[in-house]
């Protein structure tokens, strides 16, 4: 009786092409993700503070609100009106619970009247973890 011959396996070798493919895919991934991250953070002239802390807690659910000079609020790359703000924060609070952080990235030239509604909406939505994004200065004012 004839038995089927098991073909001799091909020699395994280190192939560069799939590795380069993976490297390119990783580069594209990081490019896209960094672009999206930049979209969340607008280019703003932030206030400075000496007592600022480093942003060490990374796994906290966070809502970042950018406030431009003219008071326009940007959330996740989209313009947010004052009327929409409480509802958006309430939804985020219900979704993520007590841990949620609201980060205000506000231009230092913007009047306080544009930040106060965000603080008020946070209190009404029972969000107590509110932080300001700042640049740290060593020399003070």
């Amino acid at each position: 009786m004839r038995t089927a011959r098991i073909p001799r396996s091909r020699k395994l070798g280190f192939s560069m092409i799939p590795m380069v493919d993976v490297v390119f895919l990783l580069i594209i991934f990081f490019l896209v993700s960094s672009h999206l991250a930049r979209n969340e953070n607008e280019e703003l002239e932030l206030p400075t503070a000496m007592s600022a802390d480093q942003d060490e807690i990374l796994d906290v659910p966070r809502v970042t609100i950018n406030v431009r000079d003219d008071g326009q609020m940007i959330l996740a790359g989209r313009i947010l009106t004052r009327e929409m703000l409480p509802a958006r924060l309430t939804v985020a609070r219900e979704q993520f619970g007590d841990e949620i952080e609201v980060r205000i990235r506000c231009s230092k030239q913007a009047p306080y009247s544009h930040v106060a509604p965000i603080l008020l909406a946070c209190t009404r939505s029972k969000i107590w973890n509110v932080t300001f994004a700042v640049y740290r200065t060593e020399s003070g004012m």
Partner: protein, 152 residues
């Protein structure tokens, strides 16, 4: 006539293609790492929100009242170019004076709640400056005052 052997030279061609590709990949990596490190690092300033109701403007003409250490209310006024600071309705001309005053209050009662209460038109940079000064003075309860608006 001598014909080049395609099968024999294939590996060499592959090697010669791979080298510039890997060079480009490494250059891209170095470029992105470098540009990332050039971005300014942001820090965070944890804040508290106060359910503050007071919104009366500070009156400069009134005689300075005695300090009440229950709450330290720091009001900030802005005339479009210059700021004035009021700690419990006592006027201060510069942020350095505010700093000194807050430090002296902190020596008496460090656990006093400090409420930063700016006018609506005050730039946020100045508000954060006062908040920062209060934090540096050692106060643990520093919060922002917000005016209640009627609900729709």
């Amino acid at each position: 006539m001598h014909r080049p052997n395609l099968f024999r030279s294939r590996d060499n061609d592959l090697d010669s293609m791979m080298t510039p590709m890997i060079d480009v990949v490494f250059l891209l990596l170095i470029f992105f790492i470098w540009t990332t490190s050039m971005a300014a690092i942001e820090y965070i300033l944890p804040s508290q929100v106060s359910a503050q109701l007071g919104n009366q403007p500070a009156n400069i003409n009134d005689p300075p009242p005695e300090m009440d250490f229950q709450d330290v209310v720091v009001k900030i006024a802005w005339d479009g170019s210059d700021a004035s600071w009021f700690i419990n309705n006592v006027r201060f001309g510069s942020i350095d004076q505010v700093d000194e005053q807050l430090q002296s209050i902190a020596q008496v009662k460090l656990d006093a709640p400090v409420i930063v209460h700016p006018e609506k038109i005050v730039p946020v940079g100045l508000v954060i400056e006062v908040f920062d000064v209060a934090k540096l003075a050692g106060f643990s309860q520093v919060s922002f005052a917000v005016e209640h608006e009627p609900r729709e």
